[in-house]
Subunit: 213 residues, 2 copies
């Protein structure tokens, strides 16, 4: 099995802070994620800037698209996004639109299972329509209520679908190896890196833990 990829969630709203944090962590992570509040705040020019500055990282735009899938996502792929996300709760037509936009750009679409009532069924639909990644995701508001993504990861991994599984929701140094061993192809780390005294050192530590898992 290929080594799991590490995705850094850039959750700031500020354009320059986001670029600065990306600069600190880029050597140690695979994917730079522009978080949903951040992309809504800054717009597509932030994708263009990160694309220009970080040619060796993948860029994920966490659009969480809910409607007008192809129309919304296409310009973010054109701007240099490698992966865009679409909500599973949006329904098949919207998901298919983002998959279409991804394929037209030789890029990838991620179906976010956040708040999907029947996650296994949605993951199967996602695989069937050609999405490359399924995201098991406990949101920030749900984390604040004590929820974690670990049980969902196990049930989705057990389906053995031809997709990579991305896992997000409070992953840190003490849980990242468990997540990789449970079948995550992409581990998303946010606060455990950006709230550390040295985000670069924290990202390097996460990388060492993933490589040893």
């Amino acid at each position: 099995m290929a080594r799991a990829l590490i995705q850094m969630a850039l959750d700031s709203l500020d354009f320059n802070d986001t670029v600065g944090l990306a600069t600190q962590v880029a050597p140690h992570v695979d994917i730079l994620e522009i978080g949903t509040p951040c992309i809504k705040h800054n717009g597509v020019r932030l994708v263009q800037e990160l694309r220009r500055k970080f040619p060796n990282n993948l860029i994920l735009v966490d659009l969480k698209t809910m409607d007008a899938g192809e129309y919304e996502a296409a310009p973010f792929y054109a701007a240099g996004g490698d992966i865009c996300t679409v909500l599973g709760v949006s329904g098949n037509a919207t998901m298919a639109g983002v998959v279409k936009a991804a394929n037209a750009n030789n890029s990838e679409a991620q179906i976010d299972l956040i708040n999907v009532p029947n996650k296994a069924q949605c993951a199967r639909e996602a695989a069937k329509m050609g999405a490359q990644i399924v995201g098991v995701h406990t949101g920030l508001d749900a984390q604040a209520a004590g929820q974690t993504p670990f049980a969902d990861l196990q049930s989705i991994a057990a389906l053995n679908l031809p997709v990579r599984i991305s896992v997000a929701g409070g992953i840190n140094q003490s849980t990242v190896q468990q997540v990789v061993q449970a079948g995550a192809g992409i581990v998303v780390v946010g606060a455990a890196i950006y709230s550390a005294p040295s985000p670069g050192d924290a990202a390097r530590e996460i990388r060492q833990l993933v490589e040893a898992a």
Copy 2:
């Protein structure tokens, strides 16, 4: 009953085209809506620009927030947004976060019922937590599949909740009066105005129809 407000959906992606269309329709509509793809594409500076240029219109930012409600919405209220939207499928914690941000800015929160399985229950929760507007919304992808918002409007209006009901989904000159008579406090019009030969004339026609309804 107060006259229903008219909301113009600005669905372009281009910054200048959006400002140009807003200029044509602003005298004839109450609310200028920055559509979801448009806000993701352009970021908060578009809110600031419309706020500056159109002091006599309300500005709705169609964030369709799915997580981190207060964090995501607060800066858009601070930038001059009068109404931000949050998805009903996000759950109560996220909705409450946007309501909190709205109240902190003497502004309004709209709960979007798009794809919510139990719309009546969600509308009741929205009213209970102090949201000012509930949105009955058939998305563009669902419209392409032939769906309309009219049945949902009737069932939500029958609840007699202390909220205004906003209705969106393919409303045009031939349906706008029916929507107002069925209880809509806000009617959202998009393509019927922006695809018309003269968007300004189309907006004026919509206004005459709403006033006569």
